[in-house]
Amino acid sequence: MKLAAIQKRMARAVMTPLAPGDNMQRRVSGMGDMRRYAATFIKPNDRLTSFERLELYNRQYWWRVLAALQEDFPGLRAVLGDKKFDTMSKAYLIDCPSTSFTLRNLGKKLEGWLARHPKWAGKDQRLALDITRLEMADIEAFDGKTEPALKPEDISALASGSLKLRLQPYIQLLDFKYPVDDLLLAVRDSDEGAAFASNAFSQRRKRRRVRATAKLKPAEIFLAVHRIDESVYFRRLAREEFLILRALRDGKSLSQAIDLGFRNSKTPIVERADAVQKWFQHWATLGWFCKAAQKAVLA
């Protein structure tokens, strides 16, 4: 048997879902009796059959990828509950196995997949999609690229209607139907304590987490997931603020972005200039605008 054939054969078995009890399945469609299948390429030894040796790798694969999703999506886990999250994760990983050298990207397709498979998204698909998107944005913001930032004085010196500003690549702009930022912070808060808790204590925390999820009522929010001193933060944005930032991200000029931001806005016209000035001051203080992009535009 050639190298490629052995690897295809083994990978197929390793990535086959485990049976209940975390054992390798005895029969699998397309592979038949797994004891025979394993014996065709794996040697037994004096303690383990070919099947049992292959099973070690089958288990390791599933435990590793399931643990990675659990670590990356504690909020979705709180929304769905442990059992449903586990079955959803298995279904997702069968459809969307890792195609990246890093486990960081394992959940990249999860939101889209949940949108196409509502049966795995729990009672409220919108909530599941929102929390999934926030958790992936958190990952992207954590290790996204930083470019040299424009200081507030740079911006005021350059300000003009046709100016194009670019946002830092790590900033994620998101709109939600649920206040999932509060939910995720509550979940993290309870998980942080759980590491040091006794069993009884962790049960109490689990109940708190479930209550936090159950209490969540729909409310449209606009959010920037950003970094300060390399730590990720969530910042709520006004609707207009969000629209301006999104327009700037899409490459619109400053004046176009402001027009878009206040289209259909309820903010009185007389208050708009002050609001814009305050927002820009704040964004610049947080270092959200990039110097490198600025130079390119001016050139």
Partner: protein, 283 residues
């Protein structure tokens, strides 16, 4: 062989794996540690805290890169995006050499994120060596391949594991990262004499040595990196040092990670064997 062309002619001593629970201790207390090994993939990112910490570490310590997903032994083609990001990191760390495992883990672009065992065939050795050469040529630094722990053997194998390792490194003209814990784990799982393995490898190609702990189960041993090094592994290390001389040594501890001091103290036990190697050289 403290310095050779496979470790960039360096003479590193005892290091430990750089792990996040120790970041604060390292950055605030600045403990003496000869060098740190990083998992390359943890830093093959665009920005953020991991890279900032790495830069702070690089200001004060020597760092060597160790990868977990190059999959030299995979029949798949090399992942160009992986290589591009790896080269960026190599430029950042200025690692004198780079290591990854003699294994495979992806098929048709789907990743298992595991270090899967190789069939020990001449065809596999040829494919693997070609990829090692391609990676070294692209990265322009010495590359060392590490023997993995394994739990399965293949019917098609045509040689022992150490013969396969020799076949690959001779064809690729590359170095070896000799993991003596992995040799011990595999010897127990596959019933071979680990000393025969240590005695069978080309000593002049060893760029670095790994030591670690593991977990013993009723019918097999798993390479878990969550315990101190056991005596039989120290004995293998002693034999390896007798053969290869004073060589860069690294303790891996990846799960249930104790304090920096505990991990470092465990690593420093290697000094006993390194000192006798130095003494022998002096005599």
């Amino acid at each position: 062989m403290p310095a050779n062309r496979f470790n960039g002619f360096t003479d590193y001593g005892i290091g430990i794996g750089l792990r996040s629970p120790h970041y604060d201790h390292i950055l605030t207390k600045k403990p003496v540690c000869d060098w740190f090994e990083i998992i390359s993939e943890n830093f093959m990112i665009d920005g953020g805290r991991p890279l900032r910490i790495l830069d702070q570490i690089l200001e004060q310590y020597r760092v060597v890169q160790h990868g977990v997903s190059m999959y030299f032994g995979s029949a798949d083609r090399l992942d160009r995006e992986h290589l591009r990001r790896l080269k960026e990191l190599v430029r950042r760390t200025k690692t004198p050499w780079l290591s990854d495992h003699l294994c495979w883990g992806s098929v048709d672009g789907r990743y298992t994120h595991d270090l899967l065992p190789m069939p020990y065939t001449f065809e596999a050795a040829k494919i693997t060596a070609q990829k090692v050469r391609a990676v070294r040529d692209f990265l322009e630094i010495p590359v060392a391949v590490e023997n993995v722990s394994s739990y399965a053997e293949f019917h098609v194998s045509e040689m022992t594991e150490w013969e396969f390792l020799n076949e690959v490194v001779e064809r690729a003209d590359c170095g070896i990262l000799l993991d003596v814990n992995n040799i011990y784990v595999s010897s127990q799982n596959h019933n071979f004499d680990p000393l025969e393995y240590v005695n069978g490898i080309p000593a002049e190609r060893v760029a670095q040595i790994h030591i670690a702990g593991h977990s013993k189960y009723r019918k097999y041993i798993l390479d878990t990196h969550d315990h101190p090094v056991i005596d039989p592994v120290w004995k293998l290390y002693e034999r390896a040092i007798q053969r290869v001389g004073h060589t860069a040594t690294l303790l891996e501890w990846d799960d249930s990670i104790p304090s920096f001091r505990e991990v470092h103290d465990e690593a420093l036990k290697a000094n006993k064997f390194l000192a006798s190697a130095l003494l022998k050289k002096a005599v």
